[in-house]
């Protein structure tokens, strides 16, 4: 352990802030994943996990930044990289998945809008 880290307990406000945002982010992720189980069709289910990919990741990033910044006496911004990465990649995955699902539903003759003729 490097000596420029706080070894003992952190100030109480930092701990409360960290704990609050950690629980909030985990609750967002849990609600999103529960919607994955609960909602009836694929096209409704695909909306649910984005709650964990946006609000959950943001809240846990804030918790991480607060905790490690107070502990190391300097601004800790590594976790923002993860948020940026997820913010860039989650929509790409969702769009690909949505296109695949639409394609497969059309092949099965499901009740989806027809393809734009191009």
């Amino acid at each position: 352990m490097t000596p420029d880290f706080i070894v003992g307990p952190l100030p109480i406000w930092a701990e409360i802030l960290t704990g609050f945002f950690a629980v909030l982010g985990a609750a967002f992720a849990a609600v999103g994943s529960f919607g994955l189980v609960r909602l009836p069709t694929f096209f409704r289910r695909i909306h649910a996990p984005t709650l964990g990919a946006t609000a959950g990741v943001w809240c846990l990033t804030i918790a991480t930044i607060v905790y490690f910044s107070v502990q190391g006496y300097s601004l800790f911004l590594h976790a923002v990289l993860i948020t940026l990465f997820v913010a860039l990649t989650a929509p790409v995955t969702t769009i690909f998945l949505m296109r695949a699902a639409l394609f497969r539903e059309r092949q099965k003759g499901g009740d989806v809008p027809p393809a734009a003729d191009d």
Binding site: G52, I82, T89, T93
Partner: protein, 92 residues
């Protein structure tokens, strides 16, 4: 670490475990292939969040690299699987 943060982190880990179980449930019963791919993507995100909470819990920077790697592999695998569902092959 005071009891406030200790129990908050344990609660967050419990909530994330519940979230991962929900995603695994959808992964197992999902009626179509795209349901399973979506559940796998959600499972990756939840696992990455759990890595962040564990990093706070153990006061270790190593968990960020793990979280970053999980996010990276989750994106690549989900995109490849969705592409496979769309075309029948990954790289054309």
């Amino acid at each position: 670490m005071t009891p406030i943060l200790f129990w908050a982190l344990k609660g967050a880990l419990f909530l994330l475990a519940v979230a991962m179980l929900c995603a695994v449930w959808r992964l197992l019963i999902g009626p179509s292939a795209q349901d399973r791919v979506m559940a796998l993507d959600c499972l990756y995100i939840n696992g990455m969040l759990m890595m962040l909470v564990l990093g706070i819990n153990y006061t270790s920077n190593v968990y960020f690299e793990a979280a970053m790697l999980i996010a990276l592999f989750g994106f690549v695998s989900s995109t490849a699987l969705a592409k496979f569902l769309l075309r029948g092959e990954v790289i054309e």
